[in-house]
């Protein structure tokens, strides 16, 4: 009987490890295994394609054959009409994007200040620590729609001089107030996950508390919370649509105006597609960042 592990190539020196790699040829056994793996692979692909057709086909056919499908596609998917009003919705959508950029910038700054205040141990900051905790508790626990209504209608009703009645400014403020609380908690959790020994090492090198935070703790914390922060950014983009309730002409409001004239809901679908065009790539990017972060952490665990 032949040895299944016998190499297909002429025998080299069997003893040395590493040096003989160019001489290596797969054994008969490995060639057989490769063939089996290829067959298994082909079968898996066939199964995946078959089941996809079956499931998706069933769903589509149920949808198309349903009695109301005609009226549904007329009211929601009137593409010709949709493209006609698309410029208006796009114009509204730029408002969402501008709001996102302004809010994201302010939220990063304010959220970081809140997180640093909550994690600080300085006795002088005690009252601020208390206030920051209260702030986060309140604004994380209240629906954002309520905050938008309270800020949007409450502040103008105060009739204080110097305060704006501009709905865009008020809406943006409400978004910043709410998201700062979310982001502060994400950042705080990141700061807390940096192991105390890192702090001890930095302090024993003579770094001050602030220097330790700035050069050792924060860089590591931010790296760790980048994926959840990107998640919050995606949520922020779509939540900017909520300011439409104040009358800001964003994509949602623009779609609403068009659709209330025509009694056709296609503008809403167009607005939804616009949001998806930004959020889906960003979500994919977040997934990739998250996967990389996990890989990096695992690599560190091995070292």
């Amino acid at each position: 009987m032949t040895n299944p592990l016998e190499s297909t190539a002429p025998k080299g020196r069997a003893s040395s490890i590493g040096n003989d790699i160019p001489d290596w040829q797969p054994s008969q056994l490995e060639l057989t295994r490769k063939r089996i793996r290829r067959e298994q692979n082909r079968r898996n692909i066939l199964v995946a394609v078959g089941s996809s057709f079956l499931v998706l086909g069933t769903l589509v056919s149920i949808l198309i054959t349903s009695p109301g499908f005609k009226s549904l596609s007329d009211t929601f998917f009137a593409w010709a009409y949709g493209f006609e009003i698309l410029p208006k919705v796009i114009l509204g959508f730029t408002t969402n994007l501008i709001l996102t950029v302004i809010a994201a910038t302010c939220v990063s700054i304010f959220g970081l200040i809140l997180a640093l205040t909550r994690t600080s141990r300085s006795p002088a900051l005690t009252p601020f620590r208390f206030l920051a905790t209260l702030y986060v508790d309140v604004f994380r626990g209240v629906p954002m729609l309520l905050i938008i209504l309270l800020v949007g209608f409450g502040i103008p009703s105060l009739r204080l001089r110097g305060l704006t009645n501009n709905v865009f400014v008020l809406g943006t403020t409400a978004v910043i107030i709410t998201y700062s609380a979310y982001v502060a908690e994400v950042l705080r959790s990141g700061i807390l996950t940096v192991h105390p020994s890192q702090r001890a090492a930095a302090r024993s090198l003579g770094l001050s508390n602030f220097q330790t935070l700035r050069h050792v703790v924060l860089p590591q914390a931010l790296r760790r919370v980048t994926p959840p922060l990107l998640n919050d950014l995606v949520a922020l983009i779509k939540d900017t649509g909520l300011v439409s309730i104040l009358g800001v002409t964003d994509a949602v409001r623009a779609a609403q105006i068009s659709s209330s004239r025509s009694f056709n809901y296609t503008p809403y679908v167009m607005a939804a597609i616009l949001f998806l065009m930004v959020t889906v790539p960003l979500t994919r990017f977040t997934d990739r960042t998250m996967r990389r972060a996990i890989e990096r952490q695992n690599a560190q665990g091995l070292a």
Binding site: Q198, S204, L207
Partner: protein, 249 residues
């Protein structure tokens, strides 16, 4: 005789009701190494953390170069600049290259010019055979290399006293040797050190004084020839016997 670099007298430390260290008194003259041995939990690491002011103490005095550093009014950051500390778990900063790990403190704390700090770090790295690792990140290094970088990092501040906290405990036997030979080199160069270790052979080679810690007290104190080879206290004898059985002597 000149003032010892470190004088500890009557030190007591407790965590809540747990008394971790009591009646700890010893001196470390310049250019000497004092080695603490004792089983895990005997208080070695806590002692080093107290000397480095990472943990507060409950009683006693710690003097560094004749200055009392256990005074609560002292600026702890300034004291720590004179002390180097190396940890069991290396604690390199994972987001910085080897070079940045080493130069962080000289640049930020001592305010040394960046180029100067880098060339000083290069000199240290090449002295310990790690120059080609300067731009690597810690996760690319072996445990032994990481620990040597950690030692270099603490040397970059030109400390008066180096505290080594079980620097080889996280390493496999092969890597232990490269780290220990680094420490031996430092000893030859006259670095004053306080060392906590489980490596008895190493303790014998570098120690001028050996202290055996047992349940937070110094039970036996003296030159390595006495404490490690002819211990008088039964607890030291017992500990060394167990170490011997574990094959670490």
């Amino acid at each position: 005789m000149s003032t010892p670099v470190l004088e500890v007298s009557g030190l007591r430390k407790s965590f809540g009701k747990d008394v971790v260290l009591q009646e700890i008194s010893f001196e470390v003259p310049v250019h000497t190494a004092t080695v603490f041995i004792g089983s895990s939990g005997s208080g070695k690491s806590t002692l080093l953390r107290c000397i480095n002011l990472l943990d507060g103490i409950d009683d006693g005095i710690i003097n560094l170069d004749g200055e009392e550093i256990s005074d609560p009014r002292i600026n702890a950051d300034e004291v720590r600049r004179k002390l180097g500390m190396v940890f069991q778990s290396f604690n390199l900063f994972p987001h910085m290259s080897v070079m940045d790990n080493i130069t962080l403190s000289p640049i930020r704390v001592q305010g040394i010019d960046k180029e100067q700090a880098r060339s000083a770090a290069q000199a240290l790295l090449s002295r310990f055979g790690l120059l080609e690792k300067a731009d690597q990140y810690p996760d690319r290094l072996s445990g032994g290399q990481q620990q040597r970088v950690a030692i270099i990092r603490s040397l970059a501040l030109k400390p008066r006293l180096l505290l080594l906290d079980e620097v080889t405990s996280a390493l496999d036997p092969v890597l232990v040797n490269e780290v220990l030979s680094t420490v031996r080199d430092l000893k030859v160069e006259g670095m004053t050190m306080v060392i906590a270790t489980h490596e008895m052979g190493f303790a014998k080679q570098v120690a001028d004084e050996v202290c055996f810690l047992h349940q937070g007290r110094i039970v036996e104190y003296g030159p390595p020839g006495e404490v490690l080879e002819d211990p008088r206290d039964s607890r030291t004898q017992d500990f060394l016997k167990r170490v011997h059985e574990a094959g670490r002597l």
